[in-house]
Amino acid sequence: MTILVVEDETRIAAFVRKGLEARGYDAETVGTGGAALARLARGGVALVILDLGLPDLDGIEVLQRVRGDGSQVPVIVLTARNEAEEEIRKLELPISSYVTKPFAFERLAECVRAGLVNGDDR
């Protein structure tokens, strides 16, 4: 099972992938919302790390579509803005956790562990 990293900033995607692989996970990166949706449709994704500031689709829109398709894959939202948390809560979109940039990698790794064990907090 794969962890999908959706992040348009390639240098962030690169170290996240590298760190996850060093911890024994299988990780893939995509840079756009469209690619993320396509990859999810193929299946086999255990958890998504989703950046909200994507060039094509808004990250929240990606999340809405994923949930709209009935997928319950755990999602960790990666954001540079605190307002996003409020917006997601208002839309009542179930997610696993928020990680605000900049972050300690260990914190992201903990969220990944918890997400894989518990799924989404409802």
Binding site: D8, E9, R11, I12, A14, F15, V16, K18, G19, A22, G53, L54, P55, A80, R81, K101, P102, F103, A104, F105, E106
Partner: protein, 500 residues
Amino acid sequence: MSAERRLPGRARVLIGVVVAAGGTALLVRAAEVVGWERQQALGFAVLAVAVVVSEQFQLPFQRGSETHNFNLTDAVWTAGLLLVAPSVLTLAVAAGVLAGESLRGWSPVKIAFNVGQFVVGITAATLVYGLLDPGALDEPRTWAAAALAMAAFFVVNTVAIGLVLAFVQRVPIASVIQPTLPLGTLNWAGNVALGTLTAIVWKVDPLGLPLLVAPLGVAFVAYRGWLWSMRERERMAELARVADEIAAGRDLDRRLPEQEPGEATGALARTLNSMLDRVERALLRERRFLSEVSHELRTPITICRGHVEVLEPAPTLEDVAEAREVLLSELDRMSRLVEDMSTLARAENPGFVRLEDVDVDRFLADLRSSAQMLLNGRLAVERTSSHVDQVVSADPQRLTQALLNLLQNAALHAPAAGKVVLGVDREQDAWRFEVRDGGAGLTAEERRRVFEPFSRGRTAAPGSGLGLAIVRGIAEAHGGSAGVESDPGRGATFWIRVPA
């Protein structure tokens, strides 16, 4: 009528008592009407009409939420006291106030109360006047008796109105009466003197009455001016109080009261308010800028931190070299942001540009060589004007910086091998430098925002997000302007105008 329904119980009782007392006094006086002759009836009519007329000429004096009206009615009553029988005066007061205030559209409760309290007051005045046993109209002791009688009227009038207001506003009566007492007393004294004078002139010959008009007019104008100046002073004090509160507090969205558009204080309040609007907008802009800057810094910090963290536990030399390269380039990105922020911050300082006479051809040649690496042979320079003027007054370093920013921007947005054109034109009163690209162009919304800090879209390439804001800052520091002409799909032309 809803206003009356909300009156407190004590106020309603007082109004009831005053109306009942006034009604009783009226009934007693009305019994005397049967004894009136033609002269009394005429006196009644003249007085009543005079009251109706004087009621229409009010001088409003606003104090807090209340409006106090000053008029010449008291003078009419003083003259009546000296000239006609008590029953004529009392009935004329009732009829005059009823008609006068009805004409002004006041509410029935207010009119009933006023008729009541005026009748009670004038009854007190006629009683005091009778007790003092006045003599003929040409004797000073008669005038003194009239003044004392009208003092009784004044006391009843002031206390009755003061009590109602105190009950309605739930404040002590002293706080209602005190503020207007000096002015009310002056108004009363003026009216008593005028009424006495009118009675004397009437007695000598009614044809002399027009002689009173001139001094009355002068007094009216002076009085009105005095009231206005007092009101302006109070408004100024109010403005200063609110302004102090705004200055001391944090609520910058508060504004000064702007009532009475015709007055000087109203204009001052509006000016100060528009100033506050600008200050508030500027602060909002600063706050947004800070929030954008912190947002811009998050990405490079995240990258640096992440790349160092994932080096553990046993990095290869290759990993370290890669991390080093990433870190240096991200640190460069942060340095550029800080440098651009500092430039933008200084752009509004007076010494930001040092103007000198710059030869346009030499300037273009220098710019072209600076831009060569940036544009890799894609740059074309056009001089469209054959104007004799060859010299532009500008800061060559800053102007170069601005145009390089525009060229860099164009290089990013033009199609891969597409030309970027630098055009120079001498217009009527300005030099116009423009940079044209054949890129995707801008929508109206993008054109509106493109010079604002961090307005670049997500698809836009690297850069601090401040490049075009700096271009505008440099143009404005030259006393010029910057702008863009573009349509989606048709490329963009960014221009800078520098005064010739």
